[in-house]
């Protein structure tokens, strides 16, 4: 297994792995856009959009990948479903279902065959932040700010990032110097053509 320190740092770090596009980390999921608490009457959220981003579905995908985990983390009991269809010209919608005051709870809503969504947001050609803004406006969710401790952790991470960037530059300089030296030596031995330098 990977060293404990490496794993711990990965858990704490706030960044996105570029290859997988999967944000993996603890602070990331607590702090940032989407850290909000939905009101109690919201019973379900469902999204539908295209499998690829062409046709204006990029915002929806970004919203799912970057903000939905935070919403789910803060509201663990609210089911969030995603269905992705095959046509770029198809809809990109976000449905918010609420258990209305008349019905007792979510049980009644789930027993009816096709509950109608209370709010619907069109996500086509919208950025993820705009989608989030509409979601907050329609559900009147309360946004959670970073606590003092979390802010401290964020600041510490920034310092660490700056330091590692400086270290990286230092190492790169040394490596470059070493490579230059090696190249000159190879040139001296005549292994390399002078013209190719």
């Amino acid at each position: 297994m990977v060293h404990v320190k490496v794993r711990m740092r990965k858990l704490r770090e706030v960044s996105i792995i570029p290859a997988a596009h999967v944000p993996l980390f603890l602070l990331w999921i607590r702090v940032g856009p989407g850290a909000l608490i939905l009101p109690k009457d919201v019973s379900k959220i469902s999204l539908e959009f295209h499998k690829q981003i062409n046709g204006g579905h990029m915002g929806a995908k970004k919203f799912w990948r970057e903000m939905l985990p935070r919403i789910k983390y803060r509201n663990p009991s609210i089911p969030i479903q995603i269905s992705r269809h095959d046509s770029p010209s198809g809809p990109a919608l976000l449905h918010i279902y609420t258990a209305s005051a008349g019905t007792p709870s979510a049980d009644a809503a789930s027993s009816s065959p096709e509950p109608t969504p209370t709010h619907t947001i069109d996500m086509k050609l919208q950025t993820s932040s705009l989608i989030l803004q509409q979601l907050i406006e329609k559900t009147k969710a309360t946004i959670l700010d970073a606590t003092e401790q979390e802010q401290e952790e964020l600041a510490a991470l920034e310092i660490q990032k700056a330091r590692s960037e400086a270290d990286r530059a230092l190492v790169r300089e040394k490596l470059d110097a070493k490579r230059r030296e090696e190249k000159l030596l190879r040139l001296a031995r005549g292994e390399l053509e002078a013209a190719s330098v």
Partner: protein
């Protein structure tokens, strides 16, 4: 092996050195580029000291690792897996052992209380309309029969993931010649892989809900749950898995001592969460909140 031949080279070298080379070397120096002043050393570096080999895995101190209760880890993992198909993404368990690098490994199959791979399609080759067929069907086999299946497979339709053959039907199956189609997919029943059996019902049941695990590099990994599981379901599965590993380790205790070092829970899209061993921390959320569908 000291031959007379070994004395010859020094003589020849001496001769070439003293006469032939100096005259040829001199003009070449003048042609060399300016960089030759840098004196490239052609000497090979001294051989590195051989690293001492160790026969145990490096054990890290877990004080540096933040550990989570099961409910907390589930809350994080469910958030990271938001919007995924609840039956496809799975909870994985990694059990790190304190053990020797060389030596017997933990390896077994078990049947979890709540099955993880529920969508496995099993085909049973046995005479249809017999007691065996009925038993196989009730155990969860999707395809039961003989000639029908042979005909289907020969046409290229293979809609099952596992194939079991009853011992009495083995001769008939061999005659049908399915090897060319099923062989490359690893589906052809054979006694070697334990897929030619007499007790069909039991095997099907084990196959449907059972899973294999094995220690690799000091870590045992296995899928222990679907994302839709409630914390209680997952706890039962984790407990069953760990108990089974402990039992295996107990069986080989006369030969080698193994201990559990760390238990990590992760899933397809989430990081690994080291478990503290407790079900619920004082400030974790109510279990009920994780009982809802994803």
């Amino acid at each position: 092996m000291a031959h007379a031949r070994s004395f010859i080279p020094p003589f020849t070298r001496l001769a070439t050195c003293s006469i032939a080379i100096p005259k040829r070397e001199l003009p070449r120096f003048a042609v060399l580029p300016l960089q030759s002043i840098r004196c490239a050393s052609t000497k090979t570096p001294p051989p590195k000291k051989k690293k001492k080999t160790r026969n145990t895995f490096i054990q890290y101190d877990l004080k540096e690792m933040q550990q989570f209760s099961l409910v907390d880890a589930m809350q994080y993992i469910r958030a990271f897996e938001v919007g995924r198909d609840p039956s496809s993404a799975k909870y994985e368990m990694h059990v790190r052992l304190r053990t020797l690098k060389n030596g017997p490994v933990v390896r077994n199959r078990l049947r979890l209380p709540h099955a993880v791979n529920t969508d496995i399609r099993i085909c049973v080759i046995c005479p249809p309309d017999s007691a065996i067929a009925a038993e196989a069907r009730s155990a969860g086999a999707t395809l039961v029969g003989e000639d029908e299946i042979f005909a289907q497979v020969k046409e290229g339709i293979v809609n099952f993931d596992r194939c079991i053959c009853h011992a009495d039907s083995l001769a008939k199956m061999n005659k049908a010649g399915l090897g060319r189609i099923l062989g490359p997919r690893g589906l052809l029943p054979s006694t070697k892989t334990g897929t030619v059996v007499t007790n069909v019902g039991k095997t099907v049941k084990n196959m449907a809900g059972g899973s294999e695990y094995r220690e690799r590099m000091g870590v045992v990994r296995m899928a222990v749950g679907q994302l839709g599981f409630t914390p209680d379901q997952l706890r039962e599965n984790v407990k069953a898995f760990l108990d089974e590993i402990k039992k295996d380790m107990g069986q080989m205790s006369d030969r080698i001592s193994k201990e559990i070092h760390e238990v990590v829970l992760s899933s397809t899209q989430s990081p690994g969460f080291s478990l503290s061993g407790e079900f619920k921390a004082p400030n974790s959320i109510a279990t009920k909140e994780l009982g809802t569908p994803l």
